[in-house]
Every structure is written in structure tokens, then in C-alpha cells.
Amino acid sequence: MSEHLLEVKDLAVSFSSYAGKIRAVRGVSFHLDAGETLAIVGESGCGKTVTVKALMKLYGNSAAFIEEGSVIDFKGQDVVHMNSRELSKLRGEGIGMIFQDPMTSLNPTLTVGYQIAEGIRFHDKSISRQAAEQKAIELLKLVGIPSPEERVRQYPHQLSGGMRQRVMIAIAIACDADIIICDEPTTALDVTIQAQVLELLNDLKEKTNKAFILVTHDLGIVFDFADRIQVMYAGVILERGTKYEMFDDPHHPYTWALLNSVPSKQSKNKGALYSIQGTPPDLMMPIQGCPFADRCDYCMPICKERMPQELQLSETHTVSCWLEHSMAPKIKAPSMRGEE
């Protein structure tokens, strides 16, 4: 029984493909409390989406499975070994999810109102059709869609991208879930719409006591929205901490690189945008040593041999890097944005 709303320990998720087993998530642990917002940041393919989908065992069509030994504890329930009935209850009522692409995440042949009310009616069998539709209208109002009474009967293709994403948000919060997972909610939207959607999410965050998990590769939106940040790479967490710790005192070279990649007005390198050399490792092979070794400017021979253990820098700040070792050279974080 954990004191956290959500506790994840040693989560490992793999896919079986015709070429072998792909280890997408390799031992990830974290926790989440009510009212908190956790951001999981990393490049595409680092395993962040797989991690959060595993929280609801939402594999979709893929041949994914959670490895034995993983623990996902939500309000005292063991998610990993849930049967389909319990899982059904968890999804929507316990945890809700907002997906990345609003253009394809809504069924084109059902009205928007129906899709919102669907979840409501499933989790509350006693509610009537009209009452559910009423609730859908209220939710549409809550997410800032004008003339909700009209919109509720419209089809997804009659709404713009930004509005569709709001509908997705409405669907996610429809059944009063305790945790809302936002999987790259703004990636597929224009910048101006991004800002609106983020504002909406912030609004919801303040009004309710829900916990949020924000998955993104865009550090730019993380600071305003999240309380804590964890950086993932090749299926493992390299560093995590509160947002202040991560932005003011990052310890891992990957975090430095990520922060450096955010273009800003104060950028020192006027001209070329900074990008990290190389590509993420092949997840089909077991990785020896630190997964970031090949691309790290500060790589040392030991980095390629063994995986560094996690070091606790504060109650909330941990990092896994050989640079922390007493025998390693003392490297100061390079100056980054906001540090001129």
C-alpha cells in the first residue's frame, strides 16, 4: 500500500516483433500525488508514451506486454495484474487520457456529444441519455467551446483542430478521473492553438485537484505547466526533479543538451540552432552502460561499460550519471538559456 496516488516501480515494457524483442521501457520508477503535475520529457522513441500507456495497459493493436517484476500501484490496486473488468473501470474513471493527434482520435461517424457521453454512460449505468448529453454540454462549456448546445450534435470533421483537442480533453475529464495523462497534447496543433490548449489545461489544473502527467518532447511548455520533470532516454529515466531543480541546477548532460536545444531570444549561439548529434540506440539490443554514452560530450570509458546508479541529490532530485562519481572530473553545467 503506497502513500502516493500512483506508484510505479521497475516498470519494463517490451514488444515482440518478428525481429526480436524490443525493450521500449527498461526499468522506470516514479510516483504521482493528487494535485501534482509530472512532466515526462524526452526525444521521440525514448519510451515515454509507452510508459504512460502502460499505466492503463492501453496497448492498442501492438504486441506490447509488461514484463514480470513491474509494479504499477494506483490507489492501492495492482494494475499489472488487473482483469479486464477492473481495467475497464480504471480507464476513464481512474485515469483519463488525451491523445496526440486530434484529427484521427475521434470517430468520424459519431457525434462529438455522443463520444463524450459514451464514457459517462458506460461508467454510470443509471444515468439517462438526456442527462448524459446535458453533462456533455457542460463539459464542452468547461473546455471553452462556444455554443456547446449546437456543437454537441456535430461531427468531428465540423470542428477545427484546436476544438477537437478540447473535445478530447472533455472526454478525458468526463468521468472525473484522478489522473489525466496528456500525451503530447499540443504537438499536432498550431502554435497559437497550442497556447490556448495549454491555458485550458492550466485552468483545469487549478480548478480541480486532479493529477496530470504531461508527456512531451518540447521543454518550452513544461515550465509553466509541470511541478516535477523527469527526463527519459532509451527507456530509462536519466534525471528527475522539481522544475526549479531541473531548470536551475540540472546535472545530467542530456538534460543540459535538451535545455540548450530550446531556441530562445537570449541564445548565445546566434546563428546555428543547437542539436544533439547522433541518433537514439537500437532498442532491440540490451544496452551496456549508459544509453546516452555515444552522444554525450562528456562521455568517459566507464560510461560505455556500466550503467550509472541513481544518486539522490535532494528529496526530489535524482540523477543517473557517472559524472557524479568522486573519480570523475568536476564538470560545470554549460551556460544555457536564461543564464547570460
Binding site: 548529434q277 555515444d294 554525450c296 562521455c299 566507464i302 539522490q312 562519481h325 572530473p329
Partner: protein
């Protein structure tokens, strides 16, 4: 991994200073992860992995070989009638037995196969050529010409093709391979014309073509490097599915008496002739029927395999 305290940070057991020398990024490792393969190589590789498709291909090769060499290696020429040997049973002399007129059925079946497969493949190719040209022209011009051309296609598609075939065979009054081919291709090209046109339009509006144009690539080069390779896949799959459909139609028409006439033969004609004596001499129907079924099976399996293999979205 649960966070530990700073013990490991100070644990120097088995560690040397060399291990902690800054080395930086290993640039030698920045090579491309997977070897470069072209679209066609990748498609072939995927095709090969599909056991059913490969089976279809092997089956097809087998049938082709038999159809070419069958009549040659047969003990008796296919057109030689020999009334004395009428309905000769299957044995070492007459491998498939003999038909009503004493002709070697083995030779006849494979001879008929030549005609059937020829019609199938030729018909499909002709349809493909006409369809490509028509669709390409329509999409190239766009606008009213395109609309007009497509209206014609729509009206032609509304005509039940059976009707066309029947009318044409009546009209030409010759019921042979040529008539059959003409009848089947006269309206058969509409499907592929539509496919080609819609694919061309999609491609033309696609981002990478736009990029090519912006980069100043000459129109002809765009056509050959971008438009055609991306359309060929679809065309090939369409042809592969058309062939069995045409063979089937030929069989059907011959069965109705509108197709190949004696003394020429095709699998359909053989089945048709065998139908009346089916209860007594079932083998006369079985052999050509099995050949038709096998051919259709082969093309269908291959078609499925090709379609999966040539789908660029499934590239790994």
C-alpha cells in the same frame, strides 16, 4: 532502480582513473543504423518473407512451365483425334486420359492453358496500358478535360461488362481469342484509369512533390522519379488481381458458348464440354477446373503478397 544514497559515488573498488577520462562523442558511431536498401529491394525482401505469396509465385512458375512444355512433352499431339481411343482411361499412355474424340487430354489441358493464361495476362496488360495512359492524361490536364474524361469512364463502368462481351461477340461474329480480348478490354480499363488518375492527383499534391518543384526539379524528372515509381506499385497489384478475374471471365464466357470455339480450346471451353458427361467421366472436368483454380489461387496469393510488399507505409 531505487534511489540510493551517495555510497556508490565514493565506491572506488575496481575503478581506475582511465575509466573517467573525458572522451566525448564517438563520431565513428554516427553511421546509419541500417543498410541502405532501395524501395524495390525492400519490397522484394518483404515479399519473400510472406510464405503464402512465395508459394503463389512458385505455383505460377510451375503452371507456366507446364503450359509451355506440356503440349510438347505429351505423348500425343493435342489436336490429333483418334475415335478409337475415345474416353481412354488414365494410364501411362494417356496421362490425363482421352476425351470424347480420343485426343490426349494431358496435351489438351495444357494447350488450353496456353490460351487461357495468354488471354488473362494479355488482357490485363492491355487494360493496364490503356488505363494508365487515360488516367495519366486526365490527371495531367485536370480541369474540364479531366471531368469530361471521367464522366465517360463513369458511364462505361455503368454498363454491365457481360453485356459488352456478349454484344461484341455477336457483333464481330468471330468467337475467338481476338474477340474475347477486345470484349474484355473494352471496358476493363476503366478501373485502372480511375486508380492511376486518383493516385497521380494525390501525388501531385503531396508534400514531397511540392518540395521537388520548389527545388527546381524539371517536370519530366518529377514524373519519372516521383510520380511513376509510386504509381507502378498500385498498377502491378491491379494487374495481378485482374488476370485471374479475366481468366475466370473467359471460362464463364466459354461456358456460355461465347468464348473459344473448337478446335481451339481453353480451360473454360474444356470445362464446358466436359459438363455434359460429368457424371460419367468426371476427370474431364476436374483437370481443367483444377488448373483454373490453381492459377487463380496463385495470382491471388501473389497479389496479396505484392500489395503488402509494395505498400511503402509498411517499410521497416
Amino acid at each position: 532502480m531505487s534511489p540510493m544514497n551517495s555510497d556508490w559515488v565514493n565506491n572506488t573498488e575496481g575503478l581506475t582513473p582511465e575509466m573517467f577520462k573525458t572522451v566525448g562523442v564517438d563520431t565513428t558511431k554516427d553511421r546509419v543504423l541500417r543498410p541502405h536498401i532501395s524501395y524495390w529491394q525492400d519490397a522484394w525482401r518483404r515479399f519473400r518473407k510472406n510464405k503464402l505469396a512465395v508459394f503463389g509465385l512458385i505455383l505460377l512458375i510451375f503452371l507456366t512451365v507446364m503450359v509451355i512444355f506440356g503440349p510438347i512433352i505429351a505423348p500425343h499431339p493435342h489436336q490429333d483425334t483418334n475415335i478409337k481411343e475415345s474416353y481412354h482411361p488414365i494410364d501411362s499412355e494417356y496421362w490425363f486420359g482421352a476425351d470424347k474424340l480420343g485426343r490426349d487430354y494431358f496435351a489438351r489441358v495444357w494447350q488450353g492453358g496456353r490460351v487461357s493464361i495468354f488471354i488473362g495476362i494479355t488482357g490485363a496488360l492491355i487494360c493496364a496500358v490503356i488505363g494508365c495512359i487515360y488516367g495519366g492524361v486526365a490527371s495531367y490536364f485536370g480541369g474540364r478535360i479531366d471531368t469530361f474524361m471521367m464522366r465517360i469512364v463513369e458511364i462505361l463502368s455503368s454498363i454491365p461488362y457481360l453485356l459488352v462481351v456478349i454484344l461484341l461477340s455477336m457483333w464481330m461474329d468471330a468467337k475467338g481469342v481476338k474477340t474475347l480480348l477486345l470484349a474484355m478490354t473494352l471496358t476493363g480499363w476503366t478501373g485502372i484509369a480511375r486508380l492511376v488518375r486518383s493516385q497521380m492527383i494525390t501525388l501531385r499534391n503531396s508534400d514531397y512533390v511540392l518540395a521537388a518543384r520548389l527545388l527546381g526539379v524539371r517536370p519530366m524528372k518529377i514524373v519519372t522519379s516521383h510520380l511513376i515509381p509510386n504509381t507502378i506499385g498500385i498498377i502491378i497489384v491491379n494487374i495481378t488481381f485482374r488476370v485471374p478475374s479475366l481468366i475466370f471471365s473467359e471460362a464463364f464466357l466459354s461456358f456460355l458458348g461465347l468464348g473459344i470455339q473448337a478446335p481451339d480450346t481453353s480451360w473454360g471451353a474444356l470445362c464446358s464440354a466436359a459438363q455434359t458427361v460429368f457424371t460419367f467421366k468426371p476427370y474431364l472436368m476436374f483437370f481443367p477446373a483444377i488448373c483454373i483454380a490453381l492459377t487463380m489461387l496463385a495470382f491471388t496469393l501473389m497479389g496479396d503478397g505484392l500489395r503488402d510488399a509494395l505498400d511503402p507505409r509498411q517499410r521497416k
